[in-house]
Symmetry: C2
């Protein structure tokens, strides 16, 4: 078994742990956020962590009414700007805690008066030294280069944080339920990856979702790119219709992430358009309407609240990516040209 697969399988336990043990640190930060009532939040991250930040943005805007910006780190690191962050909450995300530009963004934000926090899997890593608060993923060492368990642990932390800021005490229970559903899904991994052989020679693919699962589309796309070297990108269905859909011809593979919820209709609508173009449509969903339009169905039988679905659906995508990498003769644990810690400054 690859390290990546082993780590994918650890995720339900880790989310359970976040629900049971991270609550104290999260509550301290949530209380300070409530007290200081920041005018805005800025989330700084790169790569996989940036996708977690997109999830965090949706949650905090929807649940907490706080406008959220994603940081362009280079504004600080390259252009040395002085952004007014006196009433801002700035959260940096780095699983290794070593992303230099994220650390510099946090350090500078703190100097400019922001309330700062880090989400990381590494206690005592550089990023923890420049912030007021640290939230730990507690995912254990992540050995595979392609991040999986630190991603979902970060999502779980954002979920807890957002609901604790909102003063809702049910988030821990809901995370526990999600963890059980994810365990059930992972237990069916042979079903989830049933159609993978079909994509042995796929050269590119588009991964599309909408709303809060935009993050999931980006993250599954990155996992496929990292482990199968497929030229693949994630899109929001809305942006996809503004141009990239023109590149889709008959037989071109599009994977749609379509959990039930408020964004579902929009993805269903795209599925119909892609069907008209005779595209190859891989559908991840629990809903028969859209599964019936699929060329390849990934039947996600488990159903969770839309805000929890990014954790469930990304697990399905991770399983798909890991299996595809093996089927294509690669080693998912040794992505070419990648290292676990990426330094950009």
């Amino acid at each position: 078994m690859s390290l990546m697969l082993a780590e994918i399988r650890e995720q339900p336990d880790i989310i359970m742990r976040v629900a049971n043990q991270a609550d104290r640190a999260v509550r301290v930060l949530a209380d300070e956020v409530r007290r200081r009532a920041p005018r805005l939040a800025v989330l700084a991250a790169r790569g996989t962590s940036d996708h977690a930040a997109i999830y965090g943005k949706y949650l905090m805007e929807i649940n907490n009414a706080i406008p959220v910006a994603l940081a362009d780190c280079s504004v600080f690191t390259i252009y040395k700007a002085d952004i007014d962050l006196r009433e801002a909450l700035v959260i940096g995300v780095s699983q290794s805690g070593q992303a230099q530009d994220v650390s510099e963004y946090l350090a500078r934000s703190r100097k400019l008066g922001a309330l700062t926090a880090a989400i990381t899997n590494e206690p005592n890593s550089p990023i923890t030294r420049v912030v007021d608060h640290t939230l730990l993923c507690g995912a254990g060492t992540e050995k595979a280069v392609a991040a999986t368990k630190t991603y979902t642990a970060t999502l779980a932390l954002f979920y807890l944080l957002s609901w604790m800021i909102a003063g809702d005490d049910g988030a821990q229970d809901r995370l526990r339920y999600l963890a059980e559903q994810m365990r059930a899904l992972i237990g069916r991994s042979d079903e989830i990856t049933e159609s993978v052989e079909r994509y042995r020679y796929m050269q590119f693919a588009a991964i599309v979702s909408r709303g809060i699962n935009y993050a999931t589309a980006l993250e599954i796309a990155l996992k496929l790119a990292e482990t199968s070297y497929v030229g693949v990108r994630g899109y929001s269905a809305a942006d996809f219709l503004h141009g990239p859909i023109a590149t889709i011809h008959e037989g071109d593979p599009c994977m749609l992430i379509a959990p039930p919820g408020k964004a579902y209709e929009s993805v269903l609508d795209l599925a119909r358009k892609l069907r008209d173009k005779r595209a190859e449509i891989i559908v991840l969903s629990s809903e028969s309407n859209i599964l019936d339009l699929a060329t390849a169905r990934v039947d996600v039988r488990e159903v969770v609240d839309e805000q929890l679905s990014p954790m469930l659906y990304v697990a399905a995508g991770q399983l798909f990516a890991e299996r595809l990498s093996v089927v294509r003769g690669h080693n998912p644990d040794q992505p070419r040209g990648l290292s676990k810690v990426t330094s950009t400054f």
Copy 2:
């Protein structure tokens, strides 16, 4: 000559017009921004306009110290959130003025207390009816489906706005200078597109830059996707190193946007890494260091300030995309599967 090429050529005149005629409307908005001193700005846009918004984000953070968020419209349109925007400036960008989700975002922002503005090429379009201020591109009707002149006109408006908020009166002169340099570059379009035939059968490509020209990378990628149906995506060099670079093998085409400026070293560094991988490197630059690493050189002899370079360099990319479309036997004016106005809600 294609409509797209004709419109690319109109751009220097249009930027001159923005510099000479749009200043009054821009100044009124800039004065109100200075008076109200918003805590943050939110930019709402889709597709090409979203790339213009990314440029706007860099400018306002660097020149005006205002933190800027890019809107996820679905937070309002799908999730009906109540974001606290009382001290926000919200600018929506839509060349047609008909982007429904952008209009809804603006209408809701205004109701929530934000100062609102629209940037559009269409006076009296729907978007203008839901905002406090309208800035017009004045680009004349854009007939080609692939937007070119409305994009650079929008950039010019953001440039004027940002510098007028900063109280700098030199922006108009600098735009005039930029327009002259762009005219010179477009006059050399045969040189700019000299290597295009080489990419007759290209199936995918990565377009990469860093800093403020991240917007340029995204926009050139979209033009190529729209008019040549190439599976192409734009990246920030920093994000590119966090995963996607693993998909680049010997001979795979990467286009680097590398004007001189603070972000230049970072792109040069990436060029060296790609050279080691024996990738095909198309370089758009005035700098010999990086041009010498290129497989195909697009020698941009004109040199402008880094904040103006996105307008100059995107013109080079537009010329490249239009020519490539023709060389590949397509009609750049009739992208398959695209319409001029995209409705997403």
